[in-house]
Amino acid sequence: MREFPEGREQEFRRLYAAYFDAVLGYALRRTERPEDAADVTAETFLVAWRRLPHVPPGEEARPWLYGVARRTLANHRRGERRRSDLGARLRRELPAALPDAAAEVVQRADVTAAMRRLSARDQEVLELHLWERLEPREIAEVLGLTTVVVRPRLSRARARLRELLGNEPEPLGHDLTRHPIAHREEPT
């Protein structure tokens, strides 16, 4: 369990500043309504605050947060009520802030349509790979699986998507020079 020499609050503020966009982006990409994305974001960070000593340090915090967001999202899909009233202002602001037709989207509409024809499991690993740019080890962390399970699943999913599209889709919208993302080779 982690300790925080500079204080727990300071650590949380750092985490929030570093990953707010990533968590809200994750939620927005998977919800129908902006209000739901705001709720998922609020609940995810609430969990992170309460369980801060369990949040991995450094970049590993990102898949951990996605994992929490994923479970929060599942609760929402089951129609569970929000557990808190946090984030009321974000709920109000977000619908107005979202552009009608965004230029910076993670992928083309035809890729989104093709992915919908895949199984939910295939879709999910592909989304984490193409939208969040996660490597298999990080996808495994989000899904609570091991890389041994994720690797072939991702490989199969990519192959199925290729079959549907006739080519390998390139992620769009991520400017890697502005937002460098490490692509480390997994140990095999």
Binding site: L28, R51, Q107, P187
Partner: protein, 347 residues
């Protein structure tokens, strides 16, 4: 539908007041004590079971006396066929689904306490994927499957193993069905490389089994209940034949535990625990600036390619390769990142 914005585009949204207010609300209104957050689990509980490639040994032969023959009807009009013998599910444990069809080989099985994913294969092109999980995730999966088609569809009603189910087609030779929860678990079976008639014929060859029934479809060599301690000791002894000491000084052999009956799972638990202990030791030694301790840990990990348990497992799955990959990084002079997640280290 929300636009699928990039993180960069999300960062550019004019949300500063809402973003700051949420931060302050969380910090100010939430007690600081550790809460049992419903959305989060610790590393141990999230640890999944290892993929078990069962390769050729796992032919699922038809049993002489079926425990429960499945039936499948379409449109809910046909009468279920007769049950041949007692349903083992009277115990409440027979929610596990296996395929019992000649010519089909069980290729992989990833089995957890209350969920699993099995893959069967016949020839190069035909595959059946069987999955079950707990009831509380049923609606999530159902909603996802309803989007297989465009526009979304509730699926075609069928009956599988005496229970209502819904079927969708990904394509002419690719179908899936979700069976409603029974005994707290739902099941999904997807068949690729066969037409609808072939798929339905396979649904009729499904069986419900309990844990013992599931294990009986696996290959031999399972560790019996009560024999785990002895098996763990044997594995550690094998590691000790090439590594001395087997574990860091502050880790007792008795602390290594596993309730896995599959030898591959058991081997992954034990070899993983030993490797994790040395990687933890290496990391701690680096932080303390203790070069001797770090060198001892690196030496121990360098023996991993000769651990008998890993050599035996190497052809059956990727766990040994993953572990050796970390050992190679250590040999190259680095402390691997993310090894605790990668190996599923005990917390």
């Amino acid at each position: 539908m929300n636009p699928k914005l990039t993180d960069e585009a999300v960062g550019a949204l004019p949300l500063s007041p809402g973003r700051e207010e949420l931060l302050e609300e969380i910090i100010m209104s939430t007690p600081l004590h550790e809460a049992g957050a419903p959305g989060a689990t610790d590393a141990r509980s999230r640890r999944s079971r290892w993929l078990v490639p069962l390769v050729a040994a796992a032919t699922v032969a038809a049993l002489a006396t079926p425990l429960w023959w499945g039936e499948v009807t379409t449109g809910g009009t046909a009468e279920p066929t007769a049950v041949e013998s007692a349903d083992p599910g009277d115990s409440g444990e027979a929610y596990r689904v296996v395929l019992d069809a000649p010519g089909w080989m069980l290729e992989t099985a990833s089995v957890e306490a209350s969920s699993a994913e099995l893959t069967y294969r016949r020839g190069a092109d035909q595959e059946v994927s069987v999955m079950w999980s707990e009831e509380d995730s049923y609606e999530d999966y159902l909603v996802d499957r309803e989007h297989i088609t465009d526009p979304p569809s509730p699926g075609e009603p069928i009956v599988v193993l005496g229970r209502d189910a819904r079927m969708w087609a990904y394509g002419p030779t690719d179908h899936t069905m979700m069976r409603e929860p029974q005994r707290g678990h739902w099941a999904e079976v997807r068949g690729t490389g066969m037409d609808r008639a072939g798929y339905e014929a396979l649904l009729a060859r499904l069986r419900l089994v309990d844990q013992a029934g599931l294990e009986s479809t696996f290959s031999g060599g399972f560790v019996a209940s009560g024999a785990h301690s002895e098996a763990i000791t044997e594995i550690l002894h094998g590691i000790g034949s090439v590594a001395d000491p087997v574990l860091p000084a502050d880790v007792a052999p008795g602390s290594i535990a596993s309730d896995q009956s599959d030898p591959y799972h058991l081997g992954a638990d034990v070899a993983g625990a030993v490797a994790c202990a040395w990687l933890d030791e290496l990391r701690a030694a680096h932080r303390a600036g203790d070069e001797d301790r770090a060198a001892a840990a690196a030496t121990a990990l360098a023996t991993s390619r000769r651990w008998p348990v890993l050599r035996e497992m190497a052809d059956d799955g990727g766990y040994a390769d993953v572990l050796w990959g970390y050992a190679d990084q250590v040999a190259a002079g680095t402390v691997p990142r993310g090894y605790r997640q990668g190996l599923g280290c005990p917390s």
